[in-house]
């Protein structure tokens, strides 16, 4: 038992800190700190900065241009990025598609797509979810019918995050309609500029345009855009879903969020004292912080095991549930701290203007983030699905 980082790990942390101090633009970290949207350009800019540093792909093998960091290094990197209020890297190409291509893609696909992910030339989005399918992913209905050199794709995807910025989408499509649920599904790469694709915005309850519906009408996709074998897509999809889960706990986001709550509470007067000194508010903050301290160690335990080659088991599901509960609680604290200034919806303040918030710093984003992050326990395998998984492993029973 040793809770300390090794000398090498500490040196690595210092290197990351140095990089962030040098290269993370202040207007960017300011925006993230108060909860503003970055927009496409901001994302691309940060993507480029990381690529220049060679740190864009922490988990890729070196042969593909990645860092090949182990789990502890990746954790340190993520922790420092969150602490410095660096933007989140859009994960669809880098963290989701790339591992699938690296494992199951053809040499041609690897050579073509992976460099374009790093360079930022391609912005990928994910075509998994369909209307009405929810957590029951295997019931998907989007059809791809082989016609000569092409598949013809018809159907609809939904909850496509940042699809409005993407020029490519990776999709699960049904290629064998007669096969049972999870067979007969294939994994296709589709150029968003292909005729027949329409992207329709979904406005979320906090007023943001973050997700989309993507409609396919007789979309022709060259057969060379099939990843791996036809009808084996479910295997690749599962690999993708289980592969990149080191940051499932969101410890860094929670830590940064808690710091923001504390700052806000120190600036707000309540009954003649800073809100941070109010025992009821302080008790809520303390409970969240105590929970986070413990979860952070749970996270490290799993990371440390992963770094020594052991696969995470049902602990991922546990972290997902607890991690989202803590993040949502912190969002709730921020909303409370903002007081009456949680009520305004000032879209300019959220979309990256430089105007200061009307209320305490962070207040403009507090309630929108509270509502937006209700998604954390719904998307990415709902917390109910995670509990089913835990029960299945531990009790062996069905749902």
């Amino acid at each position: 038992m040793d809770l300390n980082y090794s000398v090498e790990e500490q040196a690595f942390r210092a290197e990351v800190q140095e990089f962030l101090a040098q290269k993370l633009p202040k207007e960017m970290s300011d925006a993230i700190r108060v909860g503003r949207e970055l927009g496409k350009e901001g994302h691309e800019k940060w993507h480029g900065i990381l690529n220049d540093q060679g740190w864009l792909a922490p988990n890729w093998p070196k042969e593909f241009g990645g860092c090949e960091w182990n789990a502890v290094q990746r954790h340190i990197f993520e922790e420092e990025c969150c602490r410095a209020n660096a933007p989140r890297i859009v994960p669809f190409g880098l963290a989701m598609l790339a591992p699938v291509l690296q494992k199951f893609g053809s040499k041609e696909q690897q050579d073509h797509y992976l460099p374009r992910i790093l360079s930022g030339e391609d912005w990928w989005c994910q075509g998994y979810s369909e209307p009405g399918a929810g957590s029951d992913l295997a019931s998907l209905k989007t059809r791809a019918v082989r016609e000569g050199d092409h598949y013809v794709v018809n159907g609809q995807k939904t909850w496509t995050t940042l699809g409005q910025y993407a020029n490519w989408i990776f999709c699960l499509v049904r290629t064998d309609p007669d096969a049972k649920q999870q067979s007969g599904i294939s994994f296709l790469l589709i150029d968003m500029d292909t005729p027949g694709i329409e992207v329709r915005p979904i406005i979320l309850l906090d007023g943001t345009h973050e997700v989309n519906e993507v409609w396919f009408t007789d979309v022709k996709v060259p057969v060379e855009n099939l990843v791996g074998e036809e009808n084996k897509g479910w295997t690749y999809a599962k690999y993708l879903l289980t592969h990149e889960r080191t940051n499932i706990a969101g410890v860094g986001f929670s830590s940064a969020g808690l710091e923001a709550v504390k700052r806000m509470a120190r600036s707000q007067m309540h009954r003649g004292r800073p809100l941070s000194e109010n025992p009821h508010f302080a008790a809520r903050v303390a409970r969240a912080e105590i929970d986070l301290m413990a979860m952070s160690t749970t996270n490290l335990r799993i990371i440390s095991r992963a770094a020594s080659g052991q696969a995470p088991g049902v602990e991922s599901s546990m972290l997902k549930v607890k991690g989202t509960e803590i993040r949502q609680e912190i969002n709730d604290l921020a909303r409370r701290a903002a007081g009456a200034y949680a009520m305004p919806f000032v879209s300019e303040a959220l979309e990256g203007g430089n105007e200061p918030d009307m209320g305490p710093e962070g207040s403009a984003a507090a309630a929108p983030q509270y509502f937006n992050n209700r998604k954390l326990s719904i998307f990415g395998g709902s917390n109910e699905v995670q509990k089913n998984i835990i029960a299945k492993v531990k009790l062996g029973g069905g749902a």
Partner: protein, 380 residues
Amino acid sequence: MNFDLTEERQMLQDSLRRFLRDNQDGLRASTRLGDAENALGFDAGIWGKLAELGVIGALFSEEDGGFAGAGFDLTTVFEELGRAGAVEPLLDTAILGGGLIAALGNETQKELVEQVIGGELHLALAHGEPNSRYDLAQVETTAQVEGDDIVLTGRKAVVINAEAADYLIVSARESGAAGDEDGISLFLVPRDSAGLSLRGYALLAGGRAAEVDIDGLRLSADARLGAAGSAYGALKWASNRAEVALAAETLGAMEAATELTREYLLTRQQFGRPIGTFQALQHRMATLLIELEQARSAVINAAGYLDSSAAEQALQISAARNLIGRAGRLVAEESIQLHGGIAMTEEYELAHIAKRIVMADHRFGDTDTQLERFIDQSAA
């Protein structure tokens, strides 16, 4: 002891519920976030019809030109508004604005109440300030007598309905220190007065508000409501009534949320059967229904004791709003969770309802502040 609505209130409830149901589209059209066309924050046509239906009059006593105005009248109206997710500013124009003029105004000023009841006049209470949080006595805006004039200077925060209001009722301190109950006056200020500047914005849960800058605003003495420096009692009275109304509105929204969730669980299929047949979800739904009954009783208590002693009022109101703060958060979050993704979209009814429930916690004192008030009152 009797927990049935009187026949009059039953009729009011029925006609209001029918009206709101029939006008659901109009009600909701005004709530889309960032909709530039929605300059008022609500639908003027619907407002007029609410007045015709007698809904505004039901919030005032006969003495003040209405025909009801008791605690259970307020809750009957606002529970329906909440159920329908209406963002129409009855709380601001009628309960707060109209209520304060009725409580403090002279005969001339009180004529405005008649216009409020008739649906012809809008009001906003410009009271909260950037540093006041939920403290009713924390007034830093000053009113200085200069000859025949009174000059107001300060800043008012998140003034709901300010842009639509014909008059703002502005609180300002004529004596004492920020935090003193004594020394606060209210002034009736036409919205287009020189020295008053508004920066308007939408609210996340619908409706609009504004930051109000008051810079050397000159008023004549007859703009004052009541005697100088003695408005705190009326402010407390009006905000108590507003808290009861807001609690009832939130109760109504909680009813709507649980009903939407109930329906969704019955119809939505997953893994081949309605998700309402999954026991884990059933038990969570049962918990919501239990908390809903708790919230209903809390509102009944707050309304029933609205004319009791100040201590009993304070105790019951803080109890109701603390309970509804907790139960409301649970209902809102669980309703969204039980719905899954669909509840995250702005256009789905529940999204709006959930925002109404949660954001109500940011007026007059949030869940924790209410708990503190309850503790203070219990110890008193």
